[in-house]
């Protein structure tokens, strides 16, 4: 991995305040996922600094990093990353297991969030028995279940039809209303318009960073 390094991000300088809802846009390969992975502490930066909640994130010990990932950050992957031998509910409950939440409470919470993404009846199904959109919604429910301060979502509506997309965005807006900070990678302008700020990336640099008037998703639901 380290043998031939590739410069993906070339001088990203931006900060996100608590309570913001940011859309990251840009063409394929522009480095959106890479940025989000670094922000989500799944990847490490080679140069520069990243401060999370006032703490510089660099060479953190594993236990501390795990603690941040668990309590602070929620991640929705572009490719879902569900555990294939666990049911939808068990997948959603997993971050709570690492938060040492009791079994019963875990299941109740998992069901609650599955209901919010409209998949309560699918709680007992394995990922292989779900459609792409359903998997994505399970992944969203899993990220939400941990009730993270910062939610990072890599194309959360990429596999959804517009109606379900708006439902998911409605959910995301509500969580944001509750004070959580959210960053979303998206290709769709109408999804970006539902955020409060849009950052455009191109070839690893910020092309544009603007505040927008948020369109509420509730009206389309």
């Amino acid at each position: 991995m380290g043998s031939n390094s590739l410069h993906v991000l070339k001088g990203i300088d931006f900060s996100v305040e608590e309570g913001e809802l940011v859309a990251i846009m840009g063409s394929s390969g522009s480095g959106k996922s890479t940025l989000l992975n670094i922000l989500g502490m799944l990847d490490e930066l080679d140069e520069g600094t990243y401060d999370l909640d006032g703490v510089p994130i660099k060479d953190l010990n594993e236990t501390k990093a795990a603690n941040y990932r668990n309590k602070f950050l929620g991640f929705v992957f572009q490719s879902f990353n569900l555990i294939n031998y666990k049911s939808a509910m068990e997948n959603v409950a997993l971050p709570l297991y690492y938060q040492r939440v009791g079994r019963k409470e875990r299941q109740e919470k998992a069901l609650k969030y599955l209901e919010q993404v409209g998949l309560k009846e699918w709680a007992g199904h394995l990922p292989s028995e779900l459609s792409g959109g359903q998997k994505q919604r399970v992944a969203i429910a899993r990220a939400l279940a941990a009730e993270p301060k910062v939610l990072l979502a890599d194309e959360p509506t990429g596999a959804l039809d517009s109606k379900t997309s708006y439902e998911v965005m409605d959910l995301i807006q509500k969580i944001n209303d509750a004070g959580n900070t959210i960053l979303i990678v998206t290709h769709e302008p109408d999804i970006a318009d539902m955020c409060k700020r849009i950052v455009h990336l191109k070839d690893g640099v910020i092309l544009e960073d603007k505040k927008v008037n948020q369109v509420r998703a509730a009206q389309y639901v």
Partner: protein, 411 residues
């Protein structure tokens, strides 16, 4: 780490990955099973060996006459040497204090019948002392005594199997059997640790045998029990002196490889013990190799299993699992599986050893009481569990340390 919740998570993982669990468990169970059965069989082989060579007394010389091969003292080669009754007396006169007991022996096959049942058995014309040499155990009645020898009685002491075969369960004591045309009274029934074949023998006074064969005084063999106080070295010296004495008496070339032969059980015993210990070393070596290959097999499967789980480990890390939690869970999982299946293999092995234990195994394959002592079995099982845990721990720790993004990329 050992909370109920943790165990539940582990059971779930085990339950939902049945094939993986089975593969790991199977290799552990098989390893232990092969070890236990192999080791048990090896011990059984050793038991047979010890029994075969250990059932007769160990302080014995068997003295045989045979044809000479060299001319000596005016005699030509190829002279047949014979032993007579007075030879026994002269040996006693010469070596008295060294001798614990001595008995002539005349072996003849004979057709033996009782009522309308008959069969062929080996008869042994012997003296009373033969009971000590053969370690014959009387079940009922008595053995031959000095009066029987003096009076040339037609008395017979028969083996347990002879009674079983031709008396078909009825009491043989006091009955008359026909041995090659002469009627003998059964005065005793014996058993012998040496197995069924030794229990298919009939002992009669050697003087009676000589009477039947034309009132001669020839002997086939002389069996001598030396005084055990003289020790191994004393026995070797006695062996030499006795040999020289007999060669002098019978005028046999001292360098003749034949003429007279003394089979010294003390010497055999030493050789047998060496063979037995070599046998033990070979068995231990094979068993050790089985364990090593078992450990390698488990390690292989563990590496494979964890490789397969790299992505899952990445997901778990992204959701906030610490490397410690991940390695801990995988470790517990593998210890749990290896323990359960290890003991399954152990129990199966012991069951099989007990099941195959029997007469036919003993007679056809020379395996007596295949067994494994519980200490060895449990030690090896624990060894395999520890190795399994280690084999899981090393790759698991490696996987738990890589960056989540790298683990997630794994397909």
């Amino acid at each position: 780490m050992f909370s109920r919740d943790n165990w539940k998570e582990i059971f779930e993982t085990i339950q939902k990955n049945k094939l993986r669990t089975f593969l790991t468990g199977f290799s552990v169970a098989l390893g232990i099973f092969i070890f236990v059965t192999l080791f048990g069989m090896g011990n059984g082989l050793n038991n047979t060996f010890m029994k075969f060579f250990g059932s007769d007394a160990t302080n014995i010389f068997r003295i045989y006459p045979s044809q000479t091969t060299l001319p000596y003292g005016g005699y030509k080669a190829k002279r047949r040497i014979e032993f007579y009754n007075e030879d026994v007396e002269e040996i006693v006169k010469e070596f008295g204090p060294l001798i614990q007991y001595i008995s002539p022996r005349i072996s003849r096959g004979a057709s033996v019948s009782y009522k309308n049942k008959s069969d062929n058995y080996g008869t042994e014309g012997v003296g009373p002392s033969m009971q000590f040499a053969e370690k014959t155990i009387m079940m009922k009645g008595r053995y031959l005594n000095a009066n029987d020898i003096r009076d040339r009685t037609k008395f017979a002491v028969i083996g347990r199997m002879v009674e079983k075969d031709i008396f078909e369960g009825t009491d043989a004591l006091g009955e008359y059997i026909d041995i090659s045309g002469s009627a003998f009274k059964v005065i005793g029934v014996f058993q012998d640790d040496g197995g069924d074949n030794e229990e298919r023998t009939i002992f009669i006074p050697y003087t009676t045998r000589q009477l039947i064969e034309g009132n001669n005084n020839k002997l086939d063999q002389i069996v001598l029990g030396f005084n055990q106080a003289i020790g191994y070295n004393g026995a070797m010296k006695f062996d030499k002196k006795l040999n020289a004495f007999l060669r002098n008496k019978k005028t046999i070339n001292p360098d003749d490889p034949r003429g007279v032969r003394i089979q010294n059980v003390a010497e055999n015993l030493k050789e047998n013990q060496q063979v037995a210990s070599v046998l033990k070393i070979i068995i231990s070596g094979i068993a050790f190799a089985v364990i090593i290959s078992g450990v390698l097999g488990i390690s292989n499967i563990m590496v494979f299993v964890i490789k397969e789980r790299t992505k899952e480990i990445g997901i778990r890390k992204a959701l906030g699992a610490t490397p410690k939690m991940i390695t801990g869970t995988i470790l517990l999982e593998s210890v749990f599986i290896t323990t359960i299946f290890g003991f399954v293999g152990l129990i199966l092995g012991i069951v099989v050893l007990n099941f195959i234990n029997g007469k036919s195994l003993e007679e056809d394959y020379f395996i007596t009481n295949p067994e494994i002592n519980s200490g060895t079995a449990i030690f090896v099982t624990i060894l395999l569990i520890v190795c399994g845990a280690l084999a899981a721990f090393i790759p698991a720790r490696k996987a738990a340390r890589i960056k989540p993004i790298v683990a997630l990329r794994d397909e």
